[in-house]
Symmetry: C2
Subunit: 290 residues, 2 copies
């Protein structure tokens, strides 16, 4: 609580950046929050909604006196952006981000920044099916995990401040290395999305031969919602986390083939065993979430 | 509305059978509804909750004067059950069911029943993640599809009465042949469940090496919920609809392999195209659902 930031720059005032800004303002965690981005209408709306104190279209100027800079643009845009603003960073600035993958992003950013920059990457695992500042929600991160992945350029104090920031926003915080983060996310987020994309496109291809979509029920509607996420974001994630996703996808393909062979061989006992296991996983997760 | 049933027997007073009974009672669509089953506690509770008028543990006796018999037990139990009660059917009784697959079930039931039985299979596509009469809900079928699949033993009048029954319960009704039903359901229901079972078991296997479940977020939680459905029911569905599921699974495996190859080759454009297509499917389905 003695830990207020002076000038904070949030680059990319979308759902995530906007929700961070709104939360920080409500909790008075910053003296001044400047929103930066490319879409003037979005920034104006963010100011009108009191999500940010002010805005600018010129990050290279606006970051000059910032004590904390948050990269909340699409991941693909981050390296180019950092390149254009890094020479204006104040010494000991804390630079953080909210990207969905970590290893490749860090590899790209590290050579672009000075040794004096306190670079503390983070990833809030929160829903992202809507986009834009107008959906900003100060409670978006509440009870969700944020994973911090320190680098060789993260100071102990920087990690501590980013950790306290996320805890103040209501998140559960875990600290791990970037590789472990990317591996975990490959299983619990990237693989499920690819599985959903594969399913929706299979059914869409089938739709030409036999109209099935009109009968879509409960379970399938969840897949459709998942597969409605931002195409650009998921393209970037697939390319950035290629190796881990490849590993997880292979395991999944083997498991699915095993299920198919059980169906072909009419192995009811084998199927039932796997289905029971899944039911137990459900009960385990429900218990864990209280 | 002049179409009230006299004595109705519902065999298997679980979520589906119980919800039908409750709806029919509320709408006064039957003079008397008898619940039949094996678990006396469940039947007693159903009577107490005014879901059924009375109950019996002896279907072979109770069906004697029934005008409508609804099979709402697990699919695997239906043929044996019909065998044990068919000799007591009243002529022109309407026999219907609520099973999730149709072709194999009909093949098994037809040789067991008299020519005078009016056999009109139906399948309400409604959530089934909870089980037992205590979850009965008269609105369970509202705005969901019920598919009726007439057989060579369905009279025009019988189909019409079952159709009106489901419409009265709030369902949208489609009439098609059993093969078409099974093909459609393979895509929109059976494939999604297998995909979810495959995913949950893959992640569960991984959990031994690297604990990932504690970080499970939005999308994956939907998979977990889907994969928590009744193992026995899904075993029966997989065995009964083997051919159609095999066809749908093969198409899905090909599509997933295509996605994997795009990731391996870092074909961002190809990935984005498939992801955009899925987003359009989402918008199409949302529009269709109003």
């Amino acid at each position: 609580l003695t830990d207020k930031f002076e000038r904070v720059c949030i680059i990319g005032v979308g759902l995530i950046g906007g929700s961070m800004a709104l939360g920080m303002r409500k909790l008075k965690l910053a003296h001044e929050i400047i929103g930066l981005g490319r879409r003037i209408e979005n920034l104006k709306q963010a100011k009108k909604l009191k999500i940010i104190d002010d805005w600018s279209l010129k990050p290279e100027q606006a970051v000059k006196n910032a004590e904390l800079i948050i990269l909340a643009t699409p991941m693909g845009a981050m390296p180019e952006l950092v390149k254009s603003i890094a020479q204006n960073f104040k010494p000991k600035v804390i630079l953080t981000d909210v990207g969905s993958t970590k290893l490749k992003m860090i590899e790209k950013i590290l050579p672009l920044i000075d040794e004096k920059v306190d670079f503390v990457p983070a990833h809030p695992i929160a829903g992202r099916e809507k986009t834009g500042a107008k959906y900003a929600d100060a409670n978006l991160f509440k009870n969700h995990w944020t994973i911090i992945t320190p680098t060789q350029r993260s100071s102990k104090k920087g990690v501590e401040r980013i950790k306290r920031l996320w805890q103040a926003l209501g998140a559960k915080v875990a600290i791990m290395n970037p590789k472990e983060h990317d591996e975990i996310l490959a299983y619990i987020s990237h693989l499920p999305h690819l599985v959903a994309y594969g399913l929706v496109s299979t059914i869409w291809n089938q739709e030409q031969a036999l109209p099935v979509l009109r009968f879509s029920a409960g379970g399938f509607k969840d897949f459709i919602r998942i597969a409605g996420s931002s195409p650009e974001m998921w393209r970037d994630i697939c390319l950035d986390n290629k190796e881990m996703i490849f590993k997880a996808l292979n395991q999944y393909q083997n498991q699915l083939e095993k299920l198919k062979q059980m169906i072909v061989k009419e192995d009811g006992g084998g199927l039932e065993k796997i289905f029971y296991e899944s039911k137990k996983v459900k009960e385990k997760v429900e218990k864990q979430n209280g």
